[in-house]
């Protein structure tokens, strides 16, 4: 398997772990508990496991699809669906990645405004963050991967242990009784959980940038496993800390439970948490924007420097136009529906289609 790109731009297969982790764990990990408990109550930990399994299968499918083509999804679309239908799919992919990045970006700004600086203007924070994103993405894929690496290690070391402080007030009976929700409820909660995993599809774009891509599948699955374990642990801590009624009133349960931590020199760690969380959000947005710009380049042959600039200006404008929380929520809901169909219908369809085509042409 020879790679299409210059060796200098490639990253070794080990980094797929960090790429997958930072792409999955973005904004959702601070607030997913409320969404998944809406239907399944405190049995929702089962739905985390279920959706994780389904995503594992999908990642396996993506690797099969890209392994046959040995290129990214843009090429796959063009090659198997022709110029027009393929082009339509490609435009959809571009928007899919960019809007996902936009949602993460806008929600993070909202968190900053709610938790850190209530009076901060959106344009100030969005401007400086977009400058940062430009600096990352213009460095190329190696720099983005580097940011993924640091952006998963530093927050993990500093933030993850803070969750355990709330165990002091844990009430383990919250978890009991187990299995007192119907299968339908658990499935619909799994559907809510799916949105937390969205982002792993950027694999479609960065696959050609991996050295020995066929060996990287192991790391992709480990990364996925790691992030779903993280979701599971945090969800379980939340379930034993909050009562169900209280959780329904809490928008950012993870932040609230981290607030419990107290040190002799520092109180109110949420200021640190929200700030350091930026290190996780930055690569998360950057990979998606990079994927979008790379797709634009491959579809209409525009220099990435130009397309990146235009995309960031659009981000700036849209982030400032979306003022109300309800607007963001609506965009989020709409997007999660689209993502659901893209992930669970389109990826298996592509998988089957390409396999059949491949068999016929052989």
């Amino acid at each position: 398997m020879k790679s299409l790109l210059d060796e200098r731009h490639l990253v070794s297969s080990f980094y797929v772990f960090f790429l997958i982790c930072t792409n999955i764990i973005g904004i959702g990990i601070m607030s997913f508990q409320r969404d998944i408990t809406k239907d399944a109550g405190y049995d929702a930990w089962i739905s985390i496991i279920l959706s994780s399994i389904s995503i594992h299968i999908l990642v396996w499918m993506i690797y099969r699809i890209l392994g046959i083509a040995n290129n990214d999804v843009i090429h796959v679309h063009k090659f198997y669906f022709g110029k027009w239908i393929g082009g339509l799919f490609n435009i959809f992919v571009i928007f899919y990645f960019l809007i996902l990045a936009l949602i993460v970006f806008r929600v993070y700004i909202e968190v900053v405004q709610v938790w850190l600086f209530p009076l901060m203007k959106t344009w100030q924070i969005s401007l400086i963050l977009l400058v940062l994103v430009y600096y990352i993405v213009s460095g190329g894929f190696r720099v983005i991967t580097g940011m993924c690496f640091w952006g998963s290690i530093i927050p993990f070391i500093i933030l993850f242990p803070l969750n355990f402080f709330s165990l002091e007030f844990a009430n383990f009976h919250n978890l009991l009784p187990v299995f007192n929700h119907s299968v339908k409820e658990i499935v619909s909660s799994s559907k809510a959980m799916l949105f937390q995993y969205v982002g792993f599809e950027t694999l479609f774009m960065f696959y050609p940038f991996i050295k020995n891509p066929d060996r990287s599948q192991k790391w992709a699955h480990i990364g996925l496993l790691f992030s779903s374990l993280l979701y599971l642990i945090i969800a379980l801590i939340t379930f034993v800390f909050f009562s169900e009624g209280y959780l329904n009133q809490t928008i950012w349960p993870t932040l609230t439970q981290m607030k419990i931590a107290k040190f002799p020199l520092i109180e109110r760690v949420e200021f640190i948490v929200v700030s350091i969380w930026l290190l996780l959000i930055l690569p998360n947005i950057s990979v998606k924007i990079w994927a979008g710009c790379r797709a634009i380049k491959k579809v209409i042959n525009v220099k990435q420097r130009i397309s990146l600039f235009i995309v960031l200006v659009l981000f700036f404008i849209i982030a400032n136009v979306l003022k109300e929380r309800s607007q963001i929520e609506r965009l989020n809901e709409m997007y999660s529906n689209i993502a659901f169909y893209f992930v669970y219908l389109y990826i298996p369809f592509l998988f089957l289609y390409i396999h059949i085509k491949h068999k016929i042409t052989k």
Binding site: F14, I125, L132, Y135, G139, I266, E267, R268, L278
Partner: protein, 511 residues
């Protein structure tokens, strides 16, 4: 590209000159304008056996002993000297060049050679080495700026031959290759690229040589100038190659598979490719037991982090996040800031500026005055500014500590970088508080990830992550754990030495 084009043009100019004036007499006509140029016949017969040299460049003693004695004291048989080539038999100096090339004669004359002609207007001349290259240079070669308590105290000198001698003393193998290039259109400085054959990757040597050859500049004073020309990226406060005056450091670098560049007239040697952690390694770490060595290295890394972030965290917490201060601490903090009328940012900038002032002044002043100044600055100004309610006590402690902490960096260039990095972070912290600091950190991380030193990533072995090279990075592992050269330098042979395998036979306690 820019440099290359200029170089080509320069070459053309030079060629034009040589074609026009092949004549050696024209050379003499030019140099005679200088008062220190001497020209006279060696024998009584005028216009015969003429010697010419710069009085200030040659060694007078050698001139008298090896040349004047031969021709003047003993009755000299002229018939032994029929051609100029015969001069080698008469004069007992090893480096004699016979040439009729005017350019060679000129450059050698300037390096301290004497020109000997059989007859006036003879084109074919002998160039005799009489140079006195040690005159005027420092003799003491104690390490001054990268001091260590344990270990050798030998540093480099301005004399490049002595420096190579120092290297050869420890790298006692024929594999130590020195490649010489001349840089500087006016200074014509000797620059030597040293590497160990069979260890250093050819790619590094070639890159370094190529970049050095592409330099077009008039006078090279120091290797730190070369450093700026050959860096991968000049838009960075970080030094991308490591300058050092310690011999053991350069030897260590060469042994690991790095390239060293020495320049005549400079006591600093630059080695590369380097990584960021190289700048926090002191040779002393290797002379102490590994546990202590690692401990001090960790202290160094933490003190650097503190030095960069100390004051900006103070600003962020006092200005925006005062909720973060626990109750017990709040009392003492607010007491110390009670009568300070300024916002924390101004307070910090005032104190940081004072410290930078003290440092800059301390460097420029003579040593004895400098010490007094340190005491005056540290105690008097500090205490007075607290009493005058210009700053708070707590901030004074933080600023003093972070200044102290930045001195722990073994390499001066890096401690300058750390001095500088504080200010953008202070700026970010004063605008966006804790988030601003993290924005600064993010900028820093991205910047570091983008940097390369001779094509090698600057943050290796962390990113790209090389677990096998981590044994000698933040932690200095014991010698039995570090027998291999770092992988990221792509050395041609990976083993440095083979540690004895005294396997522990006992798997249980002594019974």
């Amino acid at each position: 590209m820019f440099f290359k084009k200029r170089k080509i043009r320069n070459n053309k100019d030079n060629q034009a000159v040589t074609e026009n004036s092949q004549d050696i007499d024209q050379l003499f006509a030019k140099v005679k304008k200088s008062s220190d140029f001497k020209q006279f016949p060696l024998t009584d017969e005028s216009g015969h056996l003429i010697i010419s040299y710069y009085n200030t460049l040659v060694d007078q003693q050698q001139l008298q002993l090896k040349i004047l004695m031969v021709f003047r004291e003993t009755p000299f048989e002229l018939d032994r000297l029929e051609k100029i080539d015969d001069i080698k038999k008469i004069i007992a100096i090893e480096d004699i060049v016979i040439t009729d090339n005017r350019n060679e004669a000129e450059s050698k004359l300037l390096k301290g050679y004497a020109i000997l002609q059989m007859k006036e207007n003879d084109q074919r001349v002998a160039l005799i080495l009489l140079s006195n290259d040690k005159a005027g240079l420092r003799e003491q070669n104690n390490v001054e700026n990268e001091f260590s308590v344990v270990g050798p105290q030998i540093g480099f000198l301005e004399n490049i031959d002595v420096n190579i001698h120092l290297l050869r003393l420890q790298i006692n193998t024929t594999d130590l290759i020195t490649k010489e290039v001349n840089i500087g259109s006016t200074s014509n400085t000797r620059v030597i690229i040293a590497h160990i054959d069979g260890i250093t990757s050819e790619q590094h040597v070639n890159t370094m040589t190529q970049r050095l050859q592409d330099i077009d500049f008039d006078v090279i004073f120091d290797t730190s100038q070369l450093h700026q020309f050959i860096e991968d990226d000049s838009l960075t406060p970080f030094p991308l190659l490591l300058p050092t005056e310690r011999v053991d450091r350069v030897v260590q670098a060469l042994i690991n598979g790095q390239v060293a560049v020495l320049s005549s007239g400079s006591p600093y040697v630059i080695t590369g490719p380097s990584t960021i952690i190289d700048f926090f390694i002191s040779p002393e770490d290797y002379f102490l037991p590994w546990i202590l060595g690692s401990f001090f290295r960790l202290i160094r890394v933490f003190s650097v982090l503190f030095s960069i972030f100390g004051t900006s965290i103070y600003i962020a917490v006092i200005t925006y996040h005062y909720e973060m201060i626990p109750n017990d601490l709040f009392g003492s903090l607010s007491n110390s800031r009670y009568s300070v009328p300024f916002p924390p940012v101004l307070e910090v900038i005032f104190l940081e500026f004072t410290i930078e002032l003290l440092r800059e002044a301390g460097v420029r002043l003579p040593t004895k005055v400098g010490q007094t100044l340190g005491i005056v600055g540290g105690i008097v100004i500090g205490q007075a500014s607290v009493e005058a309610s210009l700053t708070s006590n707590v901030l004074l402690i933080i600023v003093a500590l972070s200044a102290l902490a930045s001195f722990t960096t073994p390499i001066y260039k890096m401690s300058n970088t750390i001095r500088f990095l504080r200010f953008p972070l202070i700026f970010f912290a004063s605008i966006w508080g804790g988030l601003g600091i993290v924005i600064g950190i993010a900028f820093l991380i991205i910047h570091l990830t983008r940097l390369e030193s001779l094509g090698t990533p600057y943050t290796v072995p962390f990113y790209p992550f090389r677990p096998e090279d981590l044994t000698d990075s933040i932690i200095r592992s014991s010698y039995s754990k570090t027998p291999k050269r770092p992988n990221y330098l792509r050395p041609k042979s990976i083993w440095r030495y083979h540690p004895h395998n005294h396997k522990k036979k006992k798997s249980d306690f002594d019974e």
